[in-house]
Structure formats: C-alpha cells, structure tokens
C-alpha cells in the first residue's frame, strides 16, 4: 500500500493538526537521523536513554530503549496502558529505584553524564530533573506560597528573594494572576487544574533542566488541560520536557517529537517508533503506530 493511495487518506486523522512543526528548528537546531529521530549532541539540558532495559524483579518490562530528548524540546511518550511509559519516565529522575524490586541495565545520560554512575548524588539528579505527577499532589499542610518554596526547603537550597521566586514560578506555570491575592491560603483550596499548575510551579522553583510530566492532565477538565498545554509550550523555550500522555491530540499539540511505546502480549515493552511529531501523526512508518494513533487499539 503506497502512502499516496486514497485509502491512506481515509485513515489520516482530521481532528489532529500538528501545530508545533513550524517551531521545530527555530528553537533548537537539532540534527535528525534518517528515521527522523533526534541525534544526541551531549549538550546541556539534553537527556538520553542508551540501550535501557528495566526490570521489576525477574520481569523485564522494557527492552532496549534508545531515546534522545534534545535540549528545549517537548517529547511526547504515547502508547497503550501497561507498555512501560511511566516506568521509563521514572528512571529518568531515579524515582524508579524507590520501588523495592526495581532494576535496570543500560545508561541514562543528562548533559552527557550517566545519572546512574555510583558517584552521582541522587538528590542532585532529582533537582535537575523535575517531575509532575498524574494526580495533583500539593502538600496539604502548606499554603500556596509554601508549596512553591517547598523544594528549596526539602533540598535545603538557599532561598534568595523568596517573593520574586514565588511570583516568577507561578507566572511561568500560568497561575500567578489567579492566586496572587491569596498566596497564604492552603493549597487544597485550589481547583484540580490549579493544583496541577501549582505542582508545576513547585517543580520549577528548584530550577530544573528537564521536566518530566506523567499524564499531567489525565485528572483534569478540558479547560485546565488547555492551560497546562499553554504552560508546556511556554516552558519549552527554556527547559526540556518529556510528557507521557494518552491523549493523541495533546501529543500532537504540544510536542516536537513523539515516541510510541508498545508491549505486545507476553513481551517486554519496546519503542516502536520515535520521530518528529508531525511525521508520526501524518506518515507513521510502522503500521502498529498508525493503528494506535487512529484509535484502532489501545
């Protein structure tokens, strides 16, 4: 079946338009290989997984993952439930090892250095690679302001000018105008979408190089989702973002690159396809990718 046949046109997805193809190359000058996937430059704010294998106990859940996340880009990780996307993203800031039986082989590089090398301080990695979780998890005992500053307190970083830091982080997370008059109210007084943006602001306060987002909008209404997507676009000028999402439109709207994960029955998860978002949504190379993004399974 040729890519130009009329049938091909029918399976394309009119609801998904890729906004960000134009910005690619303007914000960053990445090299692409012949598959369309980015090539590692080992520079600042770049993350890379090299031949990564992940286990829980004796169970191999991800096999041979090679992914490059270029500096100041957004990469969406898509794939059906249970294919190891969340597990993968948690290896990027060493949250993986908090699960007792977790193990891995291969390398994860940040700024060209292996974050799993024995001389690395894990708390430093988590400061450089921030994370936003599926369910908003502001600290309930703290006010909005204290939540933003909580990272400094938890990691014992020097605070500097707290008020301007709070304003800066809340502004970057797109929340400042909504909360600027009630910074000392408890964080739980906010709506779910606001809480999630507060969690983004909290992650930004420790000045990370990379931000991991594990289905950040899955618990939110469409309006809040759009606000968070705006925040993602805005942040991607200065930070590398890796986002797990089940929402194809969201992947198409916010990301520069997309990686499709798939775990076939009885096998560990693998990366089926990794290329620019515009390509994966318009001309997917692998038929399984095409089936997934057109909603035939998953």
């Amino acid at each position: 079946m040729s890519n130009n046949s009329p049938e091909r046109e029918e399976v394309s997805i009119p609801a998904i338009s890729v906004d960000r193809s134009a910005s690619l190359g303007s914000s960053a000058q990445e090299a692409l290989n012949d598959q369309g996937a980015p090539v590692a430059q080992h520079g600042a704010r770049e993350m890379e997984a090299q031949n990564l294998h992940i286990w829980f106990g004796n169970n191999l859940v991800l096999e041979k993952v090679d992914l490059v996340f270029p500096a100041n880009t957004v990469t969406a990780l898509i794939g059906p439930s249970g294919c190891g996307k969340s597990t993968f993203i948690r290896t990027l800031n060493r949250m993986h090892e908090l699960i007792p039986t977790a193990a891995l082989a291969g390398k994860v590089l940040l700024d060209g250095r292996d974050i799993y090398s024995p001389d690395v301080d894990v708390t430093q990695i988590r400061l450089k690679v921030g994370m936003v979780f599926q369910k908003p998890n502001p600290f309930p005992a703290m006010s909005i302001r204290d939540n933003v500053l909580s990272g400094l307190r938890l990691a014992k970083l020097p605070a500097g000018d707290k008020e301007s830091l709070v304003e800066e982080c809340l502004t970057r997370a797109g929340l400042w105008t909504e909360v600027k008059d009630r910074l000392s109210e408890p964080a739980l007084a906010l709506s779910g979408g606001q809480q999630q943006r507060l969690c983004i602001a909290r992650a930004l306060a420790v000045k990370p190089e990379v931000l991991l987002m594990d289905e950040p909008c899955s618990a939110l209404d469409p309006g809040s989702t759009l606000k968070i997507e705006d925040t993602i676009s805005y942040l991607s000028d200065s930070i590398t973002i890796i986002i797990v999402t089940h929402n194809m439109q969201q992947a198409a709207r916010v990301s520069d690159y997309t990686a499709f994960f798939l775990a076939q029955y009885g096998e560990p998860g693998r990366v089926v396809e990794h290329t620019t978002t515009s390509q994966i949504f318009s001309r997917p190379k692998d038929p399984r990718t095409e089936s997934y993004i057109t909603g035939k399974f998953g």
């Binding site: 949250m95 708390t123 998890n137 938890l154």
Partner: protein
C-alpha cells in the same frame, strides 16, 4: 391534558424500607454501643455511692488535702477519739507526675522507633521489630513491675546518681535525701517501657498511612529521606502520634502493680518536682497498699480514690479522642 406545574404541596414522602437484616444488625450495634456507655456510667455511680461517706465527711478536701491517716477507723463526726483523715492530693498529683515522666521518655523513643520501622530498617528487620514490639505490648504489667524492681532499679539508681551529680542545678534533679531508690523517676521509667510498645504501634500505623503521592512528590523535589520525613511524614502523623501518646498516658495513669513495686509512697507530703527523690504518690498504688487492712470507712476512702483516678483517666482519654477526631477531619479534607 397538560401536567400542571408542581409545588411543594405535591412533594411525596420518600420511604426507604429497612430490610429485616438491617434492623437486626442495627439493633445489635446500638445495644453494643450503648452497653459500654451504661457500664461506664454504672461504674461511676457505684464509685460515687461507695465513696459517699468519705465525700460527705471531707467534701472537696478529699481531693485537695495531704494526709492519709486511718486512726481508729472512724471519722471525727462519729465521735472518734483518734479520727481517720483522708486527703488524696499527693497521690493524685504523683499519678500525673509519674505519667508525665513516662510520656517524656516513651514518646520520643516510640516516634523514633516507628520512623525507623517505617522508613529506615530493611524490610525483614522491620517485620521482626514490629512483631517484637507488638509482643511486648502483651507482657503483663506485673512482669514489668517485678522486672523493674529486681533488674531496673539497681541500674536506675546509678543513672539517677549520675543525673543528680552533674545536673542537680536543675531543680527536678535535686534531692533532699540521697537514696535514689523507688523514686518517681524509676516508676516513670518502668511505665515508659510499658507504654512504648502501644505508642510505637499507633505511630507506626499512622506513619504508614502517609499518602505515597506526597512522599514521591517530596523525593521528586530532591528531598533527602530525613527532609522528607520532617516535612511530610511528621506533619501528617502529628495528630495520630498525639492521640497514641494520650492512650499511653491513660494506661500509665491507671497502672497499678508495676508502679506499686517501684515507688515509695508518701501520703502526707507532695513531691512536686524532685523526681529522683525516693518519695512519690500514686492513686492506684495507694489502693493496692491500703486495701488489705482497710476498715469500712477507709474502704470508702479507697473507693473515693478510685473515683478520682477514674475522672483523671477519663479526662486524659477525652482529650485523646478529641485530638484524634480533629486529625481525622483534617485528613478528610486532604483526600478531596
């Protein structure tokens, strides 16, 4: 025919018919729930009734005077030449003092042990320690008392001497007579060891309920384990720990045998703060000490002592339950 607009007058009664099984279960629950209350009430009334002669004779002075004198066994109002005179204050105060010492020692140990079990020990060790702690909670208090008397007291004498030698400029470690045995300090130590298991158990339970998402959120922000515990686990568990401590306090105040073995009772003097002095008071121990040779009037006095202890422990438990319910309410908000 168009249906007309309905008003409040048209409201129907919404009836949910109860099933028989619901009714039976409900009756059992109500019976069980109210029984404990009525038992408590019956005990209270019985104590009031039995102690009535003493309360009539001494009034409020029974709780505030400092004397326990049996005389010929009759009060002055019955024309006794050597009248009995009962005032419970040194015992009541001593009960609180000993319980306080026990709390000061037991709560920090329990909280640290609970944190160790929950967050620091390897899984196998923590399972073993949990098992041992729960087992320790079931040791009878008489064993603690005998062990305290024969094993702990000689050691405690040495520790008390050390405290006294180097810290006697702090009033609580000063003594008027250097004997150091059977002091409130030793009694508090025995009680502390006795209540540590239960306080540890409750603290561990509440710490283990800290939401995983908050713990992960803290770690994801570069927190060390200690910073995570200080900023997430402890604020979350504070109320529960206080509640557990209050339950321990209730137990410590009501304890009889363990304290009886290791505390020297002084009926006519209150040991306000010299915890190393071989002089103290304890309501439960007083009852044990005097019961065997009590005349009828003194027996009424002992029932009065029981009434005072009943009120003290009930008060401690009320405080505990109000603190626990306040924490539960807070938790419900955080789940939203």
């Amino acid at each position: 025919m168009n249906p007309r607009v309905l008003t409040q007058a048209d409201q129907i009664a919404i009836v949910t018919r109860r099933r028989l099984s619901d009714k039976v279960f409900r009756a059992i629950l109500i019976f069980g729930g109210t029984t404990s209350f009525f038992v408590l009430l019956a005990i209270f009334l019985y104590l009031v009734q039995r102690s009535a002669p003493v309360l009539r004779e001494f009034g409020l002075g029974f709780a505030t005077n400092s004397i326990w004198y049996s005389g010929d066994g009759f009060p002055a109002s019955q024309g006794s030449s050597d009248p009995a005179n009962f005032g419970l204050f040194p015992m009541a105060y001593g009960t609180l003092l000993v319980a306080l010492i026990a709390m000061v020692i037991a709560v920090p140990i329990s909280v640290m042990l609970a944190l160790g079990i929950s967050y620091y020990m390897p899984k196998r060790v923590s399972a073993a320690v949990t098992f041992i702690v729960d087992l320790a909670a079931s040791i009878p208090s008489v064993v603690f008392g005998l062990w305290g008397l024969f094993i702990l007291v000689p050691h405690a004498r040495y520790w008390a001497q050390l405290l006294n030698r180097y810290l006697d400029w702090i009033p609580i470690f000063d003594v008027t007579f250097p004997s150091f045995d059977q002091s409130p300090f030793v009694a508090g130590l025995v009680l502390a060891l006795m209540i540590t298991p239960i306080v540890t158990s409750i603290s561990r339970e509440i710490f283990s309920q800290t939401p995983l998402e908050l713990i992960q959120g803290a770690y994801a922000l570069g927190a060390t384990r200690a910073a995570m515990i200080r900023n997430i686990v402890l604020p979350f568990g504070r109320g529960g720990v206080v509640g557990g401590a209050m339950l321990g306090l209730g137990r410590a105040m009501g304890e009889t045998v363990a304290v009886f073995f290791v505390l020297q009772l002084f009926y006519d003097q209150t040991n306000w703060f010299r915890i190393l002095e071989s002089q103290g008071g304890n309501v439960a121990s007083l009852i044990v000490a005097r019961y065997g040779e009590a005349t009828e009037f003194e027996l009424a006095g002992l029932f009065g002592a029981g009434l005072v202890l009943f009120i003290l422990t009930l008060g401690a438990n009320l405080v505990a339950s109000s603190i626990i319910s306040r924490t539960t309410k807070k938790k419900r908000v955080s789940k939203k």
